[in-house]
Every structure is written in C-alpha cells, then in structure tokens.
C-alpha cells in the first residue's frame, strides 16, 4: 500500500512537471504553418503554457505537432520521426488535413496523420485559429496530468511503470 501510494503521488508530480514543459517538434508541411506561427508570436504566446520552445530535432522533443497535409509518401518519414522521439511523447494534429485528410480525397493524400502515428488531440479548422491551438494544448495538458496520453498508456501497460527511471528513453523499433 505505501509503495502504491508513493508511486501514484510520484506519477502525479512528474506528470505535472511534464505538462508544463513540453518541447514541441513542429512537423509543418502546408499552409496551416502560417496560422501556427502566430501561436508562437507575442499576441497568442504559447510560452504562457510552458511549450514555447520548438526543437528541430525529434530526439529533444516530446510533443509532435503535425501541421498541414500529410501525403502517403510522407507516411514513413512521419512514422520515423515519431519513433525517434523520447518517451513519453504526445501528438497534436493541427488542422483538418492532419486530422482527417481534409478536403483531399485522392491518390496522394493520407486520410489523417493517425493512419501512421497515434494522435492525442485533433484540432479541426482550415486553418484553425491560434486560440484553438492553445485550447488543444490545454486539453493535452489535462490528459498528460491524468496519464492518458497514448505513449503514457503504453508505458504503463507494456512496461509496467508510469514514470520511467530515466527521463529520456527513445523508442526502439520492435519494443524494448
């Protein structure tokens, strides 16, 4: 009982720290990027939520933001970037194209980034307002605190722990 108690409290504390220090990797492919840039700018200022710092290396980030249309050809690239990110990690699909493929129903466009990677929060809109990106971030923070992110659930189920002993553990293909 005491061990469980401490584990739970530790997970709460770690999740609290995680949700306010998200390091984002913006995977920007299309016009949504224009709107998304405003989220970093002073007027909307994503820094207020502790997620201001875009890292352009998947190894250094734990929040993948898919901004824009994903083509079938990009699928393996997107998956590889997700695999390279450190666990636990989260994904926001920004805009209808990243969420569902949007108005593209054709040979080239993937019907949503969730065809190749698990998405935690979908943001509709073409493009979404910057406020929606902030709303999505707050939604994600709530999920992180509750331990409901996809990779958090998998960590708990497959590996048996909620808080990794080492904070930085990149996913290795084929588990482990």
């Amino acid at each position: 009982m005491p061990l469980t108690f401490y584990n739970t409290k530790l997970a709460d504390a770690v999740n609290w720290a995680r949700k306010y220090s998200l390091f984002q990797y913006p995977f920007v492919t299309a016009c949504c990027g224009m709107e998304f840039m405003a989220v970093w700018a002073p007027k909307y200022d994503i820094a207020r939520f502790g997620a201001e710092f875009p890292r352009f290396s998947p190894r250094q980030s734990d929040l993948l933001i898919v901004v824009g249309t994903i083509t079938e050809r990009q699928g393996p690239v997107l998956r590889r970037i997700y695999d390279q990110m450190c666990e636990p990690k989260w994904v926001i699909a920004f805009g209808v194209c990243a969420s569902t493929g949007g108005f593209y129903q054709n040979y080239s466009v993937m019907p949503g980034a969730d065809q190749v990677i698990p998405v935690d929060v979908y943001v509709p809109g073409c493009p979404p307002r910057p406020e929606q990106a902030l709303d999505a971030l707050v939604l994600l923070q709530e999920r992180i605190q509750r331990g409901e992110g996809h990779s958090q659930v998998v960590l708990k189920q497959e590996r048996g722990y909620e808080v990794p002993l080492a904070a930085i553990r990149p996913t290795v293909r084929g588990g482990g």
Binding site: E72, Q105, Y107
Partner: protein
C-alpha cells in the same frame, strides 16, 4: 500576336508535320505530328524569326475516349521576340511514347518525368525517366481518367488501436 511563329512552322515543315493550327484569344497553337515533335522543337528554338529559347511548361492531357488518347502539351516563349506558342502532339494509348525534349531544353527534364509519373507517357531518349512525385511502389498512373478517383496505395499504416 505570334502569327509569325505559325507561319514559320508551316514554311519549315511542308510534309504534313503540322497537322492543324489555330489562334484563340491571341494565343497561337499548333498540332504537331508526334514523329516530328523533336524536329519542330529544335526548329522553333533555332530559327532566327522564332527564337523560342524559353521552355515554359510541358504537361499531358487525357482525352478519353478520343483517339489518340493523350495530348502532350508544350508551352514555349521567346524572351527576345516576346511571343509564345502552344504545341500539341497526340500520343496513342497503346505504347504511349514520344521523343524527349531534354536535349533541346534541359528544363524539360522534370516536366517529362512528371508527365510520365502521372500519365504513363514515355519520353524516348530521356536521360532519367522515373517517377518524380509518386513513390516507386505506386502502381498505375493517377491522373489517367480510368484511375479510380479515391484509390489510395498506402506505404505505411498502423494497426487500429496500436501505437
């Protein structure tokens, strides 16, 4: 506007290479026999009266059910003479092939690859004819009218519910 271009073409090719010419909204066009495609292009580039030294665009149109099924479309412009012309060449569905224009204008390289990628028209003599937009695993030619409109050929899919 550029009647001189059509006149020069008709003067230079009298053996039926120029099938039809026309002019609409001030834009001149000509339908060229596919066997003379490369020669007409070289002529238009080198003739002092035309000087078509700027390759603008090359693409393809699927005109199903017309025969020949495909039209290869070439847009040319002369920087010196400030005139432009549009050339068509019909390509049959069976063995869709036409001469490459890369030796005439090197800029044609990627445009011909795109036309090959989307329509399956082969450009004989092209130095590097392979898909440019789609992946090598892709089957068929997506902009042909008989390609199913929403048919996807995924490279990768994750299982539902998995990470």
């Amino acid at each position: 506007m550029a009647k001189i271009v059509l006149d020069r073409m008709r003067e230079g090719f009298t053996a039926g290479e120029i099938i039809e010419t026309g002019s609409m909204h001030g834009n001149e066009w000509a339908r060229v026999a596919p066997c003379a495609w490369r020669r007409v292009a070289e002529f238009l580039r080198d003739d002092p009266a035309t000087q078509m030294n700027l390759f603008v665009d090359l693409t393809c149109v699927d005109r199903t059910p017309r025969e020949p099924r495909f039209d290869v479309v070439l847009h040319l412009y002369s920087v010196e003479k400030k005139h432009r012309v549009r050339l068509y060449a019909g390509v049959a569905e069976k063995d869709p092939a036409i001469d490459t224009l890369v030796p005439v204008w090197p800029g044609a390289n990627w445009f011909e690859r795109e036309a090959f990628d989307m329509y399956g028209v082969r450009f004989a003599g092209h130095p590097d004819l392979r898909r440019i937009l789609m992946y090598p695993e892709f089957q068929g030619y997506p902009l042909r009218k008989d390609y199913p409109k929403e048919k996807r050929q995924p490279l990768l899919r994750r299982l539902p519910g998995s990470v």
